[in-house]
């Protein structure tokens, strides 16, 4: 692998994603289904006939079948943190990568009521040997008794904030982030993605799973929305 520059990554991206100007989603050929043709499994949009799309699709098909790196990763991590839960977020064929997540629960800061739900995650690319670790925090605050809904089957006692993104793991995430990074490097043989390149737009690529948003190195090689983890 040559040095990790935006230019190199953009060239790599063009291996997997065809031209956007040739295949804009606003102009996707309408699917016309006539009676009797309802079960056409072979239906493809024009951009899906390109060698780039085929390479991207093959990468996912391989990833879904080859679970060995995941097994190595989780088998390596679980004995280290026997009390913690791990998750694997694999939005198959709807992203450029996946994520391994470690879940922590910590009290609120400043003695406030409630707790913080912390996810420390490694985003792992399918398309290049790259990963990065980061974290999100959701704050859960108790719902005051007068606002609860005991007559409902589901009566939550806490309210969760939207997750907040920490591209740089916080101090309390750091030991977990370091351990996660080490194990991802071993299991997947990947290297750290330079985060300063995350928001670099990649012009003129049709990323199959984007609904018209601007393609970036982040959403083309990793996840569409790294904050929205499972």
């Amino acid at each position: 692998m040559s040095s990790m520059t935006a230019e190199w990554l953009m060239r790599e991206a063009r291996q997997f994603y065809p031209s956007l100007s040739k295949f804009p989603p606003q102009k996707d050929v309408p699917v016309i289904i006539s009676p009797g043709q309802e079960n056409r499994a072979d239906f493809k949009l024009p951009f899906q006939e390109t060698p780039e799309f085929q390479r991207w699709h093959d990468a996912w098909t391989r990833a879904v079948k080859e679970t060995e790196p995941w097994r190595v990763l989780l088998n390596g991590l679980r004995p280290r943190f026997p009390d913690l839960q791990f998750g694997s977020y694999t939005p198959a064929y709807m992203s450029g990568g996946y994520a391994c997540i470690l879940y922590l629960r910590r009290p609120q800061t400043n003695g406030r009521e409630g707790f913080r739900f912390i996810r420390v995650a490694a985003a792992i690319s399918l398309l290049a040997p790259l990963y990065f670790v980061y974290g999100t925090i959701q704050v859960a605050t108790p719902i005051p008794p007068e606002e609860r809904t005991p007559w409902k089957r589901h009566d939550p006692h806490e309210r969760f904030s939207a997750p907040e993104l920490f591209l740089q793991p916080t101090e309390e995430m750091q030991p977990y982030a370091d351990m996660l990074a080490r194990h991802v490097e071993q299991a997947f043989d990947h290297r750290p993605f330079p985060l300063e390149l995350a928001d670099v737009p990649v012009p003129d690529i049709r990323v199959p799973y984007l609904n018209g948003e601007q393609a970036t190195l982040m959403n083309a090689f990793f996840l569409r929305d790294i904050t929205g983890l499972i």
Binding site: P25, Q26, K27, D28, P30, V31, I32, I33, P35, E38, N39, R40, A41, F43, L45, Q48, H57, W60, V64, W70, L74, Q85, F86, G87, S88, Y89, T90, P91, A92, Y93, M94, S95, I101, Y103, F117, R119, F160, P208, Y209, L210, N211, G212, R224, D225, G228, L229, I230
Partner: protein, 162 residues
């Protein structure tokens, strides 16, 4: 199987029902049974797994008679942190309800002259926003996985549903 016709009329009819209604009359509802999810990634011990379905939902412009199937793929985790195990039934109920909500919102506000391809794109965007508030990690996009599409149609083929 029932058919779904997401029909857009561009008349000045007031839309009925709850939600932010636009000026167009929108009829047709997708049902949970149409969301014939296939599990594409098995679940592991913690939050994990993936199930997805590709749907070609027929949209008809009531003014012009233009018809096109809006193809979209919905993916949901099999287990996430917020909900724990998400059963197939739960996934079907939630994805169908919010597909209807998003379709209603987008189609009732459609402006004359907007192409169905653009409306389909707007539908996928709005559906994704709404669905991710209900199921953390859910995704909506064009059909990309190669799953056999579930296809609804078609008004002429189902003359006597009522």
């Amino acid at each position: 199987m029932l058919a779904v016709i997401l029909a857009v009329g561009t008349f000045g009819c007031a839309g009925a029902g709850a939600g932010p209604a636009g000026p167009n009359l929108v009829t047709g509802r997708i049902s949970p049974a149409h969301f014939r999810f296939e599990q594409t990634v098995p679940k592991d011990k913690g939050p994990s797994g993936w199930r997805a379905v590709c749907i070609h939902a027929m949209m008809t412009n009531g003014d012009t008679g233009t018809r096109l199937a809006c193809a979209f793929e919905v993916g949901v985790p099999v287990r996430n942190r917020d909900r724990g195990e998400i059963s197939l039934e739960t996934a079907q109920l939630i994805t169908a309800a919010w597909a209807n909500h998003a379709a209603y919102e987008v189609l009732s506000h459609a402006r004359p002259g907007e192409t169905l391809a653009v409306l389909c794109l707007q539908f996928r965007q709005r559906y994704r926003e709404l669905l991710r508030q209900k199921i953390a990690g859910a995704e909506v996009s064009a059909c990309t996985s190669g799953l056999t599409p579930v296809i609804f149609d078609l008004s002429p083929a189902v003359p006597s549903l009522l």
